[in-house]
Homo-oligomer: 330 residues x 2
């Protein structure tokens, strides 16, 4: 059973895999596992994954058989496990709790070689609806406080399987980063009586220098204080505190597919991570926090300076990144 441990100084939680711990020799050829060979996510290999919890498949077809166009399964090697009652404890100065949670894999397409950016807008929309459905389902489990949705694309961005997929992890605690972001937005709201993201969108649409696209009620921009070259945020224009409470995902699917295609052209199929930033379950509906999606192309290495200070050196001004991405056609 994995264990959640809290750093006693700054309160950051860490998941420690206590059971199948990696030995020194396990780290040597980690990058090699991604390419070629057998793919457990391909049609026909449904029995190689845990049973599906969601799928788009022809009416009448059986679960865990081919024919699907999208499939969500439990992760075979979960970071956190779903089975147990949550135990907590304290040993001297240290807090820990059982590594209870849930870990799912969204297989975005049946085609092994299609990237998310290769899919049609409708198919990307299906992926977003799958995220929504699974978040709503996991929200029903009273042990969980947050579901993080993210995608790692490319070995350099941490993907260990080539077949296009993303992941959901349900957590028994609100992660520090989410908490900080919501608290920062709340402080601004208390002072100005406005959502800071709404204010950012307003200011950016006037300045225009960091906007990549504005279309169908969705803004795609390079943030003012970008940590990484070509960091990009996708934000719905109308205030919305929770991803899972959107009524339509069409504009978002267009924006996501569009900007991934732009990055593809400008940066030549870069590895990337994206993460949905949304309100935690305790405050799903609020006036101060505005959900959005952050995309981080993996172009530079995070080194000692970043680890030590928690701040970043970005060699590409967001104004230039936005200009490059704006200038290509999709």
């Amino acid at each position: 059973m994995p264990e959640l441990r809290k750093d006693p100084i700054i309160g950051r939680w860490v998941i420690i895999a206590t059971e199948r711990g990696k030995r020194p020799s396990d780290f040597v050829s980690e990058a090699e596992t991604t390419r070629g060979g057998f793919c457990p996510l391909c049609p026909g290999n449904e029995d190689k994954t845990p049973s599906e919890v969601y799928a788009l498949r022809p009416e009448g077809s059986k679960p865990n058989t081919p024919g699907w166009s999208l499939r969500v399964v439990k992760n075979k090697f979960p970071a956190l496990v779903a089975e147990k009652k949550l135990e907590r404890g304290r040993t001297g100065v240290y807090d820990w709790m059982d590594g209870v949670g849930d870990h799912e894999v969204v297989i975005e397409t049946a085609q092994h070689n299609a990237r998310l950016s290769d899919l049609e807008v409708k198919e990307v929309e299906d992926v977003l609806w799958a995220y929504r459905d699974r978040i709503c389902s996991l929200k029903g489990d009273s042990r969980f406080r947050y579901v993080i949705v993210f995608k790692n694309y490319g070995a350099a961005a941490g993907a260990s399987l080539e077949h296009s997929h993303s992941q959901l992890i349900a957590l028994p605690i609100v992660p520090k980063r989410v908490f900080e972001e919501m608290e920062g937005a709340r402080t601004y709201y208390n002072y100005h009586n406005k959502c800071i993201f709404c204010d950012i969108i307003r200011q950016e649409l006037i300045a225009k220098v960091r906007i990549i696209e504005e279309k169908n009620g969705v803004v795609t921009l390079a943030p003012f204080a970008s940590r990484f070259p070509f960091e990009t945020w996708i934000i719905p224009e109308a205030h919305s505190s929770s991803f899972e409470e959107m009524e339509s995902y069409e504009g978002l699917a267009q924006a996501l597919q569009g900007v991934l295609r732009r990055m593809d052209q400008v940066l030549d199929d870069p590895p990337y991570n994206f993460i949905i930033h949304t309100s935690h379950f305790g405050e799903s509906q609020n006036e101060y926090y505005h959900w959005h999606l952050e995309i981080i192309p993996k172009l530079t290495k995070v080194a000692g300076f970043e680890w030590g200070t928690g701040f970043y050196i970005n060699p590409t001004p967001p104004e230039e990144a936005a200009r490059y991405l704006r200038e290509v056609s999709t």
Copy 2:
């Protein structure tokens, strides 16, 4: 002139290189620059670096000529620049300031092929004294609030030059990460009237499961909530709030050289970062914060989950990491 920009939501600062911004094509072969060819840090090439600000060299020998065993120079491509008066400003919701600071490179040895772990204890001690001397000197500049000292070893850990070196960056602001750590320690102190690091050392020396070495008043351990496999902290046993106020660096040099040699054996010359965590200039001497050095071998990739949540999945329990490192001889 680089620019410091503040994220308006969570208050994180970012350094944006506004002048020689990297274009998309600059990212393609970044990892290639490390090996082979001309080395600007080698003896005989003193004119290829900015003028030295500190050196260990034979009495009577001229600055910027060969013969030195350690040399500190200004960084030729600094992340922040030293020349200007510090201007600050606000544009709508955004805060920024001039990228004023200082950036120095510590060339740890004259030998191109010697790693820090290959040096004698006395030579490692010289490196630590050089850090101390430069911190004390930069502390005299009233624009600066903190000096971060760090080392990137190996291309995967962000090193762009092969010749063994570390870096110092003087900053006009206290980084968020440093501030959080000091505030966390202060909160504990206010409640318990004790330093949390002193309490951690006490508890770890009794439990013994995460201790790698205890020798000459210095403890080397794997922290309870390790973010990364084989993450290691070196902490002086006696309470000390600032690195630069130590009276001796011999025990620390032994611990650092020792644990790097252990990692070398267990992990086969791993890339790593180390960072000195010390009090900011405003509170150099205090009872609540305990300076220490954190070493992070670069064995796994940070991916979407970590970026999104600010917390980490560590596949190697620190108890196992400590056992591996303890069991090899140095």
